[in-house]
């Protein structure tokens, strides 16, 4: 039995080897044993975009020394983009803000934290209604929750909005008016399963590179992924696409209508899906979230004019390509994922185009199966987690509740234990309205006189800065407080600057585009006197409490942010030296999660997120005590809230009949388009290396050197006509402002003749002096993608 003996020996050897490997892998290396060898790695989601990659952070001696992609993270599977790999360097720019500073006689002078907190509390106490908070999709969940509770639960106003208004408000109104509840039904898993990806005005190769790789790399594994790029300029994403459909700005509604027209005309829409799960809807005279019903016949009639030939005339996309898209949607064998981001959202018809794209998926039945999903992408790490889910918007309350709903207000007041009627029913000012008000003198109706900005840079990112931001800086009684980590275009003119902790200098939680809630722990101390944004909010609330502000007391007369330790004693978390005595993040999150069951956005307790690389809500407790996340909403096979046997159930339906809405919207002209005087379209956006206003990425040498400055992309024909070459400086001018920019032809993007593109990351070249503040009537999101400008060579003798 020689063979058997040999086998036995082999098995024994293998067992021994396996045991050794296991022991190696599972050994708990103490931090000391691996010091100096890069052994102390901890998990954190990346600080930058809404993809929500997890990174591993290597910490030594109280400093971040390296970062790696996290192989255990489902989002990025170990891969990052160039920003993610360098995220650790964002902490160490030389000009980090280290101390509170007050503007006195035009210069910023250092003051103590106690003084700073006193100043803010004093101004709020003097005029609570004149105080507003302008927050961010970069707020962590506990930060946003604390700010919301301070304003709505404490001060009893709705004067809070967030920069996410500028980036995904139209996606929210699109989801809410289609499904009755916000956020995508699908997840990034669809990118692994789909056969076709349609990019609607989206350039993920640069803006969401990890997601782009997630489907493009499938080709290298022998899978077929058809990529269709519907855009207004050629980009790096176009280079990988089989089809590029170049459309005239603002004509995307015509394209969507053209596809729907063909589906009905040819009878290739999914009749059964529509009959069982959908209602039809159109706008009221005044655009609204609810609209008014229409029948299938009326819908068909409304789409009548959108023949492929008519759409070709409107959009510039060939009729054959409209037919190609209609053929794809007609084919139920295929799995189709639609992706969009700012192209559809930063649009004066943003809500409408969002609804139309959802409508195409519903009409064709490309919904509710893995790979079949209309999914909006987000640009900030917690635009979803904080702004949309916590509800830090003028109309929002935690967990998808809204101030306009009496029951929602009652739920909130009860959970916060504040007197009934504390929360006003009227939504506060949205972002554009808030800043316009702040830039208006008090005697002309500008009643907001103090704005506290956290984690964002409106002095660079607001549209039409000369109307919305700059005037306030010249008005004596308009007081701007800014919590940030670096000097920015906003802190430059702020009255009070507060230095904040950044990323792994504090505990945090965020929520990415696919409903994934993520958690990390503080790993390194913040520099100088920089402190957590949550602490700043609670310290001001406490100061108000001490000043006798009734709003800072709950029904029992206790401080609204009261926290007890294990022995039942109140922990003075408003004192920085005691802030770390308990995990304030955990307390706030566990309080917030109680709101989330009302709209089926269930979150697990904090401790579950400590163990995971994020969990996608709804996260529901199982009989065995474990917590299960949900990949596909409204689909019976995965969503625990769908009634058995229903297949698909839109359980938050606007029409209360478990159906989603298919909307009709006509294609219409934008508020401003090129004319004889301003003959060019201007589009703005981002580049791979820089993130939003560049305050972090411009301080990372590898990223700044790769993309040192802003530029204007221009077609060669236009450049020839203007007599300019690459690197020559031109003046780009709109009705609102002008800016000098170097020309770059055939660079990152190639706009068609008559179109320009300018990235907005460079604070030395503020393109938002030029952009338009016209916004979507429902979402109130401004259109950064379309306005009319003219271009000329810089006159001789101007700045060299």
């Amino acid at each position: 039995m020689e063979t058997d003996r040999r086998t036995l020996m082999k098995l024994a050897a293998m067992a021994a080897a396996t045991t050794t490997v296991n022991r190696l892998a599972q050994a708990e290396p103490s931090v000391d044993a691996t010091a100096g060898k890069g052994g102390n790695w901890q998990k954190a989601p990346c600080r930058f975009c809404g993809t929500g990659c997890h990174v591993q952070v290597n910490v030594e001696g109280g400093r971040v020394v390296a970062v790696a992609g996290d192989p255990l993270a489902e989002v990025n599977k170990g891969l990052c983009c160039v920003k993610g790999y360098h995220v650790g360097l964002a902490l160490y720019g030389k000009d980090r803000l280290r101390t509170p500073m007050l503007k006195r006689n035009g210069t910023h002078v250092p003051i103590s934290w106690a003084e700073a907190i006193d100043i803010i509390a004093g101004r709020i106490q003097k005029d609570p209604k004149g105080f507003a908070v302008y927050g961010s999709g970069q707020w962590t969940i506990p930060e946003g929750y604390a700010a919301l509770k301070l304003v709505k639960g404490g001060l009893g106003t709705n004067n809070i909005d967030a920069n996410a208004r500028l980036c995904m408000a139209s996606a929210v109104t699109g989801y809410v008016s289609t499904y009755g509840v916000d956020e995508p039904a699908g997840t990034f898993t669809d990118l692994d399963k789909c056969d076709v990806v349609i990019l609607w005005g989206n350039n993920p190769a640069e803006m969401h590179p990890v997601l782009f790789s997630r489907f493009i790399d499938r080709r290298a594994r022998g899978e077929k992924v058809t990529l269709i790029d519907i855009g207004t300029r050629r980009t790096r994403s176009t280079d990988h696409a089989q089809h590029f459909l170049q459309f005239k700005p603002n004509s995307d509604l015509a394209i969507a209508n053209g596809i729907a027209h063909l589906l009905l005309e040819r009878g290739t829409f999914d009749e059964e899906f529509v009959r069982k799960h959908c209602n039809f809807r159109q706008d009221t005279a005044e655009p609204s979230l609810q609209g008014q019903p229409m029948t299938l016949q009326e819908y068909r009639k409304a789409l009548g004019p959108y023949t492929p030939e008519a759409v070709e005339k409107l959009s510039g996309v060939r009729a054959a390509d409209i037919r190609m898209l209609a053929d794809l949607f007609a084919n139920k064998e295929l799995r189709i994922t639609s992706l969009w981001c700012m192209g559809m959202n930063q649009h004066t018809r943003g809500t409408a185009i969002n609804r139309l794209v959802h409508g195409l998926h519903l009409l064709s039945g490309h919904f509710g199966r893995p790979g079949d999903a209309p999914t909006s992408l987000t640009g900030q790490p917690s635009a979803c987690g904080t702004v949309r889910e916590v509800g830090t918007l003028a109309h929002g309350l935690p967990g998808g509740l809204v101030v306009t709903n009496e029951k929602d207000r009652a739920i909130t007041e009860q959970l916060w234990n504040v007197p009934a009627g504390r929360i006003p029913a009227k939504p506060g000012p949205h972002t554009v309205a808030m800043w316009r008000n702040f830039s208006t003198p008090a005697d002309q109706g500008g009643d907001i006189n103090t704005v506290w900005v956290q984690c964002t840079n409106p002095g660079q990112s607001l549209p039409n800065l000369n109307a919305l931001f700059n005037p306030s800086r010249k008005l004596a009684d308009k007081f701007l407080v800014v919590s940030d980590v670096y000097p920015t275009a906003t802190t430059k003119d702020a009255d009070l600057i507060l230095p904040s902790a950044l990323w792994v200098e504090k505990n945090g939680m965020t929520g990415n585009s696919e409903r994934r809630t993520q958690q990390w722990f503080k790993m390194v101390p913040p520099p100088g006197e920089a402190r957590d944004d949550v602490w700043q909010l609670i310290a001001v609330a406490r100061r108000l409490f001490e000043l006798g502000n009734e709003g800072m007391k709950d029904k029992d007369g206790q401080f609204i942010f009261r926290q007890l330790d294990a022995t039942g004693r109140e922990v003075p978390i408003w004192q920085w030296e005691h802030y770390d005595d308990i995990n304030v993040d955990e307390r706030l999150f566990n309080e917030y999660r109680l709101f989330t069951t009302h709209k089926h956005k269930n979150l697990a307790p904090y401790r579950e997120y400590v163990k995971a690389r994020g969990l996608r809500w709804p996260v529901v407790e199982q009989p065995d005590g474990s917590w299960r996340e949900t990949q596909y909403r409204f689909a019976e096979f995965d969503d625990p809230f769908v009634k058995k046997g229903e297949g698909i159930q839109f359980y938050h339906s606007v029409t209360k009949d478990d159906r989603a809405l298919i909307w009709f919207h006509p294609a219409e002209d934008p508020p401003e388009k090129p004319d004889a005087e301003f003959p060019f379209w201007l589009c703005t956006g981002r580049v791979l290396e820089h993130w939003h206003t560049g305050t972090l990425t411009m301080r990372i040498p590898q990223l700044r050197r790769a993309m040192p400055q802003a530029y204007v992309e221009m077609h060669r024909e236009d450049a020839a006509r203007l007599g300019v070459q690459n690197g020559d400086v031109v003046v780009v001018e709109s009705r609102r402002g002008k800016l000098e920019l170097p020309v770059w032809m055939d660079g990152r993007g190639s706009p068609p003749p008559g179109s320009l593109f300018v990235p907005f990351f460079d604070e030395r070249m503020l393109i938002n002096l030029v952009t338009l503040d016209a916004h979507d009537p429902i979402s109130k999101q401004p259109d950064y993608k379309k306005c009319a400008v003219r271009v000329r060579r810089r006159p001789e003798g101007a700045r060299p």
């Binding site: 599972q26 390296a66 160039v82 030389k94 308990i582 993040d585 030395r764």
Partner: protein, 253 residues
């Protein structure tokens, strides 16, 4: 039977002659010709260069000239310390050059040459297998191929700036102190295979740096052996594996 036309006959004759010429040419071409093609005067060499063949008897006492540098005692060798120093120096230079191209050990290296901003890039033409040209090397990728190279690798120096860009407003210095580049791997005893001193995440293709196209100080002494981890053990701690088991520092309660 009709006689072939005169022109046909001429063609036949011409064909036969052409065939014969071709055959003769071919045979001539294949003929072995030992004579060198270029003849010249023989080079005169000084007689001192010529060495008489040693006799068998003299071989025992006189070392062969060609092997005069051979040593038969260890004492005369270059000291081991000097060898170690040279190796260390070569390695340090290679590691420093490597560090200059990335933010920290493990960060994606920047691209030291211009690239196209758009289009399907030809990165893999050189970086799939690795190329050495005129002393400059385009290393093979250390990881599996991904499609979108510029997702992680950006140019070290960006697009041409216009003659006078606006003055910089942000601090350009960054106080980030990277994790030090890896030290030598550990050896259980002199001569034992060293362990891998760095993470192998995205660096699983060892020959990218340690193969024949690698830098002098990093090259393997035995590049024909390709199953590296057979002898060189990766470190569990370096492989980021224990991340969940490492006690988390922070405000846990």
């Amino acid at each position: 039977m009709k006689a072939p036309a005169a022109s046909h006959r001429a063609m036949h004759v011409f064909g036969a002659v052409l065939g014969a010429v071709l055959l003769a040419g071919f045979m001539r071409g294949t003929e072995y010709n030992p004579a060198p093609r270029v003849r010249g005067e023989p080079v005169a060499r000084p007689s001192s260069d010529l060495r008489a063949a040693p006799s068998y008897t003299s071989m025992m006492t006189e070392p062969q000239a060609r092997n005069t540098h051979w040593r038969h005692s260890l004492g005369g060798l270059v000291p081991q310390a000097a060898v170690d120093e040279a190796v260390t120096q070569g390695r340090n230079e290679a590691v420093a050059a490597r560090a200059a191209r990335r933010a920290f050990d493990g960060a994606p290296p920047t691209i030291p040459h211009p690239i196209d901003q758009r289009g399907v890039l030809g990165c893999l033409d050189c970086h799939a297998e690795g190329v050495v040209v005129a002393g400059r090397s385009a290393p093979a990728m250390s990881h599996a191929a991904y499609t979108n190279c510029t997702q992680c690798h950006v140019v070290a120096d960006g697009p041409r700036e216009p003659a006078a860009p606006p003055p910089q407003t942000v601090a350009t210095e960054n106080a980030f102190r990277p994790v030090p580049p890896p030290a030598f791997g550990e050896r259980a005893w002199a001569g034992a295979p060293p362990t891998i001193p760095h993470s192998t995440q995205m660096r699983g293709t060892c020959l990218s740096c340690h193969g024949v196209s690698g830098a002098q100080g990093l090259k393997s002494s035995h590049p024909w052996r390709v199953s590296c981890t057979q002898c060189h053990a990766p470190g569990a701690a370096l492989d980021l594996r224990p991340s969940m088991d490492v006690p988390l520092v922070g405000r846990t309660q």
